[in-house]
């Protein structure tokens, strides 16, 4: 039964069944999206244990109330026997690819053409086809946790690590989910609602005392409360005061609850980020991730503390106003509301065009910011090449766009508002005239008219609020959507479900690669079927050109990524079964990129083992040859590093990073170009420090300078992701292979600049 990669829709399954294909026996399926001419077309390619089947036509998705029905317009069908096909492969072009069947008679048949974004599944499909053809069972374990299809609309999830379908997920889903976060505070929320209701109701009644009651009953002779002005003043003041008290009270309750929810959300997001694998961070910009924790949570906070209560209050207010106005005089009220609607309609039309200007302004502003960031970050290069004028021109161009966008925005507003005010004033005059006429003819009391005029002044607030609320709602749901994206993402490297028991003392460090293939991007293997061994307690050096796959091997050993195929064993235990904690405790990595956190140098050194004593910190620094320069810093080990702290040179940072790895006392120490940023004398010193640490420790080191690795017990040469040769320095020199060539090249380079290199 097909589980991967594309599903057969019901209509396609029927079309296959009509051609005597047993659907239950099909193994894998992929769908190509183009014909040979590059026009959109749906080509289903699938196979069982005997044949490859290709069905072409057009898929149609028909919405049927809440579900989707599928239709398939059949065009073509063909099938090939397994014995006629040697292998399947993907032929890549710039933006499209072709699936090619290499036939046993040597021909290469194009089976389907597809957009390059689908190449990964086609590569995996080919691999499985070849596997089954060889009579082997494909390993689908890496696919099991991936979410491929939306169960509702059957479309492919854009991100297989997140169960989110942009096609059929409604915007309200995010809002409902956000509201769900308030469920722990339901009683408080109920109290807030009651208080908002009361506050608005009392606020609405208040004008009644100052207008209708005052003019018609207190100031009019014969009125029911004639002359009792004090009572009216007390009533007005009292109602306003109570309304304000309720308003303050619900504001306080909300500002207590919302920060709790946002705090929890922010913590959850940060925790989720820590859980995610390295690939998540390499695919996202750090700036945008930081913005998600910071800006997005503020947007959500603002919505819940400010917009939501106002929304509820305005909803009650507008409903109450309409009812009260109609009770006073339906004719004048309807006219007033009609004017309000006309004025608002004008504003809606204006707003629609103005949004376009806002968007242009936003784009222009981003453009200005990007040029600013670019020029300021690259100021050294700008100055070095004396390109200040060029940068000024570039900035002026962007700034001009922003000016134009601002001008358009302002001009449109300046033209619209006087017109709108004019329309309003004309209609207002007409309504007042009508009111005066009704008062003079005795159809409406003077107090009633003043009350209506007073309410008419109030009715604008809620109306404008709802008109502009869309932007705040959008900003909040956008922000929440981005935050949920992180919360819902699943790590690509998952902890073992049934972890192996690791002996006390941690892993020893017998590392074995068994036929390991690894791809960052499908179809472009960085490591190709590599098998290699590093013995515990030995110093293994990995040598190769840039891009050969050395650092990838290190990433795989520390399980930053999982292998595409094959297996890595440490002490005979598959790496996927080793608990993360045991793996990380046993492996210390000093990489090419060093990062120092905000804090003191001592804190940075003891980052992996916060309980390390100061003695150990200093010892590690001495071992890493960092003590001398730390000693010369004014604040010694208390020197603050990281953002806002002292700036250290690349070599100094690297030495702190080595000390950080050493203090962890890992059984396996990985040095990825750890001494690349240092001068030869410092490198020698660190080398001897590393030599001291060799005892009982597995060391794996990558270095471009072969002299660094000359004392390695074993050297492994990698070329184009493949293991080329391995042995000791002397053995490899005698072999006169790839290592010998590399060594010779380096020796000659050094000699040419007057530095001799002995040995060899």
């Amino acid at each position: 039964m097909i589980r991967y990669f594309d599903r057969l829709t019901d209509a396609v399954a029927i079309a296959f069944a009509d051609r005597a294909v047993d659907i239950d026996k099909l193994r894998y399926c992929v769908k190509a999206d183009m014909d040979s001419e590059g026009c959109y077309y749906d080509v289903y390619i699938t196979f069982d244990d005997e044949k490859l089947y290709i069905l072409s036509g057009y898929d149609r998705l028909v919405r049927n109330k809440k579900t989707f029905d599928t239709q398939f317009d059949f065009k073509d069908y063909c099938e090939y026997d397994f014995c006629d096909i040697e292998r399947l492969f993907v032929d890549r072009y710039q933006y499209t690819c072709r699936l090619i069947a290499k036939m046993t008679d040597g021909r290469e048949l194009p089976i389907g053409r597809f957009s390059s974004g689908f190449s990964e599944k086609f590569e995996q499909f080919c691999r499985r086809f070849d596997c089954i053809k060889r009579g082997e069972e494909p390993d689908d374990s890496a696919l099991e946790d991936r979410h491929l299809y939306c169960p509702k609309c059957q479309r492919k999830y854009p991100d297989p690590n997140r169960r989110f379908c942009p096609y059929c997920t409604k915007r309200s889903w995010i809002f409902k989910r956000l509201l769900g976060m308030f469920k722990d505070y339901k009683w408080q929320m109920a109290i807030i609602l009651v208080m908002i209701g009361l506050s608005v109701a009392l606020g609405l009644v208040s004008p009644y005392f100052g207008t209708k009651l005052l003019y018609d009953d207190v100031l009019t002779e014969g009125g029911s409360l004639y002359g009792q002005i004090l009572l009216v003043i007390i009533a007005m003041g009292g109602f306003s005061l109570i309304s304000t008290i309720f308003s303050i009270a619900y504001g306080i309750v909300i500002s207590c609850i919302a920060p709790n929810v946002i705090h929890k959300l922010r913590t959850d997001i940060f925790t989720a980020m820590q859980r995610l694998s390295l690939s998540f961070f390499t695919n996202k910009q750090t700036g945008s991730l930081m913005g998600r924790v910071d800006r997005d949570s503020s947007d959500v906070y603002f919505f819940f503390t400010d917009i939501m209560p106002q929304c509820i209050a305005n909803l009650i207010k507008i409903f109450g106003l309409v009812v009260l106005m109609l009770m006073v005089n339906p004719l004048v009220s309807v006219c007033m509301l009609a004017v309000a609607v006309i004025v608002l309609m004008c504003e809606v039309i204006w707003l629609r065009g103005q949004r376009r200007n806002w968007r242009s302004r936003d784009i222009a502003r981003r453009g200005v910011n990007s040029v600013l960031t670019d020029a300021l970050n690259g100021h050294r290069v700008v100055k070095a090449f004396a390109r200040e004028r060029q940068e000024m021109t570039r900035f002026s161009g962007r700034n001009e766009q922003l000016y134009t966008a601002d001008y358009n925005l302002g001009r449109r507003s300046a033209m619209f508002f006087p017109v709108q005010q004019g329309i309003y004033a004309i209609f207002n005059g007409l309504i007042y005239s009508l009111g005066v006429y009704l008062v003079l003819t005795g159809q409406l009391q003077f107090g009633g008219l003043t009350l209506l005029i007073s309410y008419f002044g109030v009715v604008w607030d809620p109306m404008f609020f709802f008109m502009y609320m869309g932007n705040d709602w959008t900003r909040c749901t956008d922000a929440a959507g981005r935050m949920f994206e992180i919360l819902d993402s699943e790590p690509t490297v998952k902890p073992p479900e049934h972890p192996a028991v690791i002996p006390e003392g941690g892993l020893k460090g017998d590392i074995e690669f068994k036929n390991v293939t690894f791809e960052y991007e499908a179809g472009r293997p960085v490591l190709k079927n590599m098998s290699f061994k590093a013995d515990a307690g030995k110093f293994t050096g990995i040598v190769g050109k840039t891009g050969a796959g050395k650092s990838t091997m290190i990433n795989l050993i520390s399980r930053m990524y999982d292998v595409t195929s094959g297996e890595i064993l440490i002490d005979g235990i598959p790496i996927k079964k080793i608990p993360f904690s045991a793996l990380r405790e046993s492996i210390g990595v000093v990489s090419q990129e060093t990062y120092l956190f905000m804090g003191t140098i001592a804190d940075n050194i003891r980052y992996a083992r916060p309980d390390a004593s100061m003695d150990e910190v200093i010892q590690a620094a001495k071992n890493a040859n960092a003590h001398d320069f730390i000693m010369n810093l004014p604040d010694g080990y208390d020197t603050i590093t990281g953002s806002g702290g002292i700036s250290l040179s690349g070599g100094e940072r690297q030495r702190i990073s080595i000390a950080r790895a050493l203090i962890q006392k890992p059984n396996i120490l990985i040095l990825d170009e750890a001494t690349a940023a240092m001068d030869t004398a410092t490198e020698r010193k660190i080398q001897s420090a590393i030599d001291n640490l060799k005892q009982g420790r597995t060391i794996i080191a990558i270095a471009h300078r072969l002299s660094t690795l000359r004392d390695a017990d074993m050297l492994t040469v990698i070329e184009n992701g493949e293991l080329k040769e391995s042995g000791t320095h002397d053995e490899l020199i005698r072999q006169k292979g790839a290592y010998f060539e590399l060594y010779k090249l380096q020796s000659m380079s050094l000699k040419s600049i007057g530095i001799g290199e002995d040995g060899g």
């Binding site: 183009m34 590059g38 026009c39 959109y40 032929d91 072009y93 710039q94 933006y95 499209t96 072709r98 021909r107 290469e108 957009s115 390059s116 974004g117 689908f118 492919k156 854009p158 942009p166 096609y167 997920t169 915007r171 995010i174 376009r356 968007r359 242009s360 784009i363 981003r366 959008t474 749901t477 956008d478 959507g481 981005r482 994206e485 070329e719 184009n720 010779k744 090249l745 000659m748 380079s749 040419s752």
Partner: protein, 177 residues
Amino acid sequence: MIKNTQTVYEVDTLRLLSPEKVDFIPEDSGLLTLKYEGEEYNRVTLTRLVPFDSSDEYISAAYKNDRDEWKEIGVIKDINALPEQQKKVVVDFLDFKYYIPVITKIKKITDNRMGYLFLDAVTTAGEKRIAVNDWWHNFRMIQNKMISVTDADGNRYLIPEISKMDKASIKKLQLFI
């Protein structure tokens, strides 16, 4: 010894291929064979070095060596300088290699306000609903006249000249460029 020294210090230089000397022959594999100055190179591919600015100029010809590495043979400065039959072979190859659906009309752009834009577009490959995630990064303006669009699956589309689109399409696009 001298040879090795040359390998270390030899500086790669631009080698322009003489248009009248090149002889490209299409292979069954989809790649080309190039005969040039007495040498024959198999499995040759052509690459536009400046694909957007001048797609007919600076075409690199490279072949795969025994180590599976692409090695450049040289660069054709202008394919219009090639003999007619050779030009056809080169243009056919490049057209196929660089085939990209071109957006000719935009019927509707919907922002689902959850990070995705949906473009209901007419392309040279047919009509398509294109889902674009994070439009700020995936709507790339090139040389102030063309737009490269990358959809949620990583597929690419091109608008070669915005000003040549119909007014309604431009108006819809203006919100995003």
